[in-house]
């Protein structure tokens, strides 16, 4: 019989790992339990993190926001700090799964699943988020792009968990935009998605830009060349077209059941053109 362990604190969690180092760790279960109940996974035990208080909620420390890994998407949508400081993340979470999935799934689960289509990832890359990892031995912190090692792969070690995400309040940006292209609005895996943060001067000149694409490569794709192209110039459709051409070179999408690679490449560039509309 497969054991299900429900630690109530991090101390209890470390003890749980001692007996079951190969246990599968989860919080919302919207990814792991789909695989388990459909016979694709067979872990020796399950450890559910959803009762660990230390992993819950959103807080601020000076200029940084700390998001507990087991905060659900629904909780993040209601959170005043996320709404006011991180609209790009809020917009992305709003399109995750369905209300039911958002009541269960967590930001930590979305990150650790490390899907190229994970909707919180492009905003977190654009926000230069850092993840905090903990084990019985100690704490380490790294940039999200270093944490995610490939499709479905992270730098998490055995008996180590993601405890929280740190994001600096992005006060320097005055335009937050996320858009996902899927086959329908709800319950749709992203065909391509894009998170964009811009600082625009009053005269329309782009002063700062951070861009990231989902479902456009094995991990989230960033494109410093496109950011450089935009910076220092007044935002216009012609400028965005030039940057979009660079984006289409930078992405390396695959063909799968949802779309083929050529389509994704074109759409990845086109999503950038949308910034002209957002301004109006």
């Amino acid at each position: 019989m497969r054991e299900v362990i429900l630690p109530g604190s991090l101390d209890e969690l470390w003890r749980s790992f001692e007996g079951k180092p190969q246990a599968a760790v989860y919080a919302g279960g919207t990814d792991l339990l789909v695989g388990l109940y459909n016979g694709l996974l067979n872990p020796e035990a399950l450890i559910c993190l959803d009762r660990i208080e230390e992993l819950q909620g959103v807080g601020e420390q000076g200029e940084s926001i700390r998001i507990g890994s087991c905060t659900t998407h629904a909780q993040l949508l209601d959170d005043p700090l996320v709404k006011s400081h991180l609209p790009v993340l809020w917009q992305a979470i709003r399109g995750i799964g369905s209300p039911l999935v958002r009541n269960m799934g967590t930001i930590g689960g979305n990150i650790c699943t490390a899907s190229p289509a994970g909707d919180t990832l492009p905003p977190l890359y654009a926000l230069r988020a850092e993840v905090e990892l903990r084990s019985k031995e100690g704490v380490r912190r790294m940039a999200i792009e270093d944490f995610i090692a490939g499709p479905g792969a992270t730098r998490l070690q055995r008996a180590e968990i993601l405890t929280c995400v740190w994001v600096k309040k992005p006060g320097e940006y005055n335009l937050h935009h996320f858009e996902k292209v899927g086959l329908r609005n709800a319950l749709a895996c992203s065909v391509v998605s894009m998170a964009a943060l811009l600082r625009l001067a009053l005269n329309g000149v782009v002063e700062k830009a951070a861009l990231a694409w989902g479902s456009a490569g094995p991990t989230i794709v960033t494109c410093p060349e496109a950011e450089k192209k935009l910076i220092g110039e007044p935002l216009s459709m012609a400028l965005l077209q030039e940057a979009a051409a660079l984006v289409r070179k930078a992405v390396s999408p695959i063909s799968d059941v949802r779309a083929d690679a050529d389509y994704r490449r074109i759409v990845a560039g086109n999503l950038l053109l949308r910034l002209c509309k957002v301004l109006k």
Partner: protein, 158 residues
């Protein structure tokens, strides 16, 4: 493993493998077949139940996770014998065709109206977007939820 929780207001104990899919506990161990299972992957909402008042998918929860929680299934909505206003509205507006999605849709609607007692039609559609109806009865479902909301606020549906 012995798991204790409140099911439709009653303290309930079951002795089941801790990893057993909770929808199977409801349907097969407790005989509450109002909760349906369809996709088994979180994509259809047929298995929706309320856990501590919040709509969740019972096909994606291990039995042990319900330890100490308050669970409401469709059977518990009319526990005292009188239908919930959402159920009444579904009957009145004919928002049921084959009925397979209905328990899940009703519970998702109850949670939606608990959070937002006066939703727009668009907000109702969005709030129920995790519950699929393959008879294509969405218009009547939205009509029914809108009417239930009005009634629950003390008004008369148009």
């Amino acid at each position: 493993m012995r798991i204790s929780f409140y099911l439709n207001g009653k303290q309930t104990h079951v002795d089941v493998p801790p990893g057993r899919k909770f929808v199977d506990v409801l349907r097969e161990d407790l005989g509450l077949t109002g909760t349906k299972e369809c996709c088994g992957a979180g994509e259809c909402g047929a298995c929706t139940i309320l856990v501590d008042g919040q709509a969740r998918l019972s096909c994606l929860m291990a039995a042990a996770q319900l330890q100490g929680r308050r669970v409401t299934t469709i059977e518990g909505l009319a526990a005292d014998g009188s239908l919930h206003p959402v159920q009444e509205a579904f009957i009145e507006y004919g928002a049921v065709q084959c009925g397979f999605c209905t328990p899940g849709v009703v519970l998702a609607a109850v949670h939606l109206l608990d959070r937002n007692p006066d939703p727009t039609r668009e907000q109702i559609r969005e709030g129920l977007s995790g519950n699929l109806c393959r008879c294509s009865g969405y218009v009547k479902i939205v009509d029914a939820v809108e009417a239930a909301a009005t009634k629950m606020r003390g008004g008369t549906p148009q």
